[in-house]
């Protein structure tokens, strides 16, 4: 069929708009990448766009990878990531499983208890006082236990568990399987796509989290990567990064260090995400189903 004039205009405008959006989204990231391998002295005097790195220097990356607080940050973030995501998955799966069962007398009450927390909360200060009360201040577990379940994720997982055919569980029950066996041997293996989505959601949350760490952790040795980053990027404190250099060098290296730390903190996730994109998308779609 012949495409009308107005449609051709529409299609052209559409392509231009989307290409523009792609450029606006990508360019800041490209800029950071170029700046991170640029020569500090040249970068400082430069203004505006970068079309290629200015000179070439990996001095900033050397500084970043030799810096004790960045390394500690990585270690702490890794701890939070591994133990946090494990805790998240176990507790969320248990909750999702119980709430997906029919004929359990108290489930309507349980679901109400869980859902209500999505719409009403005690607030920041009371949560802080409770975390302090249970003795988690200055423990990495303070960034894990108070966030063991994300209610939205719990509902997504419950929806997925309810979709598993009942006949499979029935036959397992005949063979004498209890609820733990049904959950870990039947339901979870059959819900792997959703489990993958959950791992990714929780992992991104843990990797990028900084706020709760900033209020629950006073000991600098416990700072996760993002908190160290905040000092470098927001408080503009790169002095500690370039020890040994004289003042002028410090200033020059400092400028590139900012960009190198952005790369170091973001590249792992940005590299990973296109491979897991289809799972993310799936998760959002399941989440779209009314709770």
């Amino acid at each position: 069929m012949k495409i009308s004039y107005s449609d051709r205009v529409f299609i052209a405008v559409n392509h231009v708009l989307l290409l523009l959006l792609v450029v606006v989204t990508l360019y800041p990231l490209v800029y950071v990448a170029f700046a991170s391998i640029s020569d500090g002295a040249q970068l400082i005097t430069h203004k505006g766009f970068l079309y290629r790195p200015l000179g070439f220097s990996i001095e900033a990356y050397k500084n970043v990878f030799h810096n004790p607080s960045i390394l500690k940050g990585y270690r702490n973030t890794l701890f939070i990531l591994v133990f946090g995501v494990t805790t998240n998955l176990i507790v969320t799966a248990l909750g999702a499983y119980v709430l997906s069962r029919k004929n359990v007398m108290w489930n309507r009450v349980f679901i109400f208890i869980v859902i209500l927390t999505m719409f009403f909360s005690g607030g920041l200060v009371p949560l802080y006082l409770i975390v302090k009360g249970v003795g988690l201040i200055d423990s990495l577990w303070a960034t894990i236990l108070p966030f063991a379940v994300n209610t939205f994720n719990l509902i997504i997982m419950r929806t997925a568990f309810m979709a598993v055919p009942e006949s499979l569980e029935e036959s397992a029950k005949m063979d004498g399987a209890n609820h733990f066996v049904i959950l870990f041997r039947i339901i979870i293996p059959l819900s792997m796509p959703v489990i993958a989505v959950m791992i990714l959601y929780y992992a991104v949350e843990k990797w990028n989290g900084w706020f709760w760490a900033s209020i629950f952790l006073k000991d600098r040795d416990l700072y996760p990567l993002q908190l160290t980053l905040r000092e470098i990027l927001i408080a503009n404190n790169t002095d500690m990064m370039s020890t040994g250099a004289n003042a002028a060098d410090q200033f020059q290296i400092g400028e590139t260090i900012k960009y190198a730390t952005i790369m170091v903190a973001s590249v792992p996730i940005l590299v990973l995400y296109p491979f897991v994109q289809k799972y993310f998308v799936k998760g959002v779609m399941i989440g779209a189903v009314k709770g």
């Binding site: 299609i11 392509h15 176990i90 507790v91 009403f120 200060v125 009371p126 959950l183 990027l233």
Partner: protein, 309 residues
């Protein structure tokens, strides 16, 4: 079945417990989590009506009624943070909320599947970058000689540290919000678009409808239920402006336009130790949010039959 329905409560209770005891065992960690980290803080919010001191604890601190609320409503800060919160929320509602809807429609109109995937992959990306990094980039790019700043000087703007300017804060906030979230939030609308019956488009084309007309008459009505659910959810969070980003970006010179209820709660409560006062402000915020959610849900139910419950 009939028997269970008519049996007395203790009998049913016992039968249910015997049948499902392992399920209850499994529920213990989950319930413990919700009780300790969600319901205990709700109880803890009572300190809003008390004069809390850490020495006496939540239970033993003396009651002072609505004093904290009185102080808050009467203070200079009340109108400032309420206005900032409402204004920033409305800005996001007007600009950031429709942006992903428009993007989804535009992506949906692309005939080339590869280009479609490419646009999606690129626009989702910023969602995965941490707020600390995003805030760092915003700060750097809007600073003197920064990327955005220099770009704007081509159009005649002055080279200034934009984040020091109270009048620019909201614009920076909302634009960066769109930049980070537009792609990610479009996924849900793209999912809704896929379920629209393609035959409708063919029929419309037969009748000579242009692309814009079929967007208006088929696409938008097709995703309207999704839009209204997302809108209701958004209403329930109207006063929860993303304060993590605000805390990262604001400074005393921009408090006039940047300070919102939640950043105020954070500053007064956790940095200045005004526990009870801050809890009162937080409670006020929660109650308004709940009221807004219920109202939006009711209105939506009446006019479109879409509702959360």
């Amino acid at each position: 079945m009939r028997k269970t329905a008519t049996a007395s409560f203790p009998v049913r209770f016992k039968r249910d417990f015997l049948l499902n005891k392992y399920l209850y065992l499994m529920m213990i960690p989950v319930l413990a989590y919700y009780v300790i980290f969600h319901y205990a803080p709700m109880y803890g919010a009572l300190i809003a009506f008390k004069e809390y001191t850490p020495m006496k604890g939540i239970v033993h601190s003396p009651w002072i009624g609505f004093q904290n609320f009185h102080d808050f409503f009467g203070s200079y800060y009340f109108w400032r943070i309420l206005k900032n919160t409402v204004v920033i929320s409305l800005y996001t509602l007007c600009f950031e909320f429709p942006a992903p809807i428009i993007l989804a429609i535009l992506i949906n109109e692309l005939a080339n599947k590869k280009f479609q995937r490419f646009v999606q992959t690129v626009t989702y990306m910023p969602y995965f970058i941490s707020l600390v990094v995003i805030a760092g980039m915003i700060k750097d790019f809007t600073n003197n000689g920064g990327l955005v700043n220099t770009l704007l000087t081509y159009f005649g703007a002055n080279d200034t540290a934009m984040l020091q300017k109270p009048e620019l804060f909201r614009t920076i906030y909302v634009l960066s919000e769109i930049w980070q979230k537009i792609g990610w939030e479009s996924i849900i609308y793209l999912a809704a678009l896929m379920s629209i019956d393609q035959e409708q488009y063919e029929a419309a084309r037969m009748d000579g409808a242009t692309r814009l007309k079929s967007i208006w008459h088929i696409t938008i009505p097709g995703i309207l239920p999704t839009i209204s659910i997302m809108f209701i959810l958004r209403m329930g969070n109207l006063l929860n402006v993303g304060f993590e980003k605000i805390i990262l970006l604001y400074n005393p010179s921009t408090y006039d336009t940047a300070d919102v209820i939640s950043s105020f709660v954070y500053r007064k409560g956790l940095l200045e130790f005004g526990w009870s006062y801050s809890a009162a402000v937080g409670l006020f915020n929660s109650v308004i949010n709940l009221a807004l959610l219920i109202t939006a849900n009711k209105i939506s139910k009446r006019i479109s039959e879409n509702s959360l419950w």
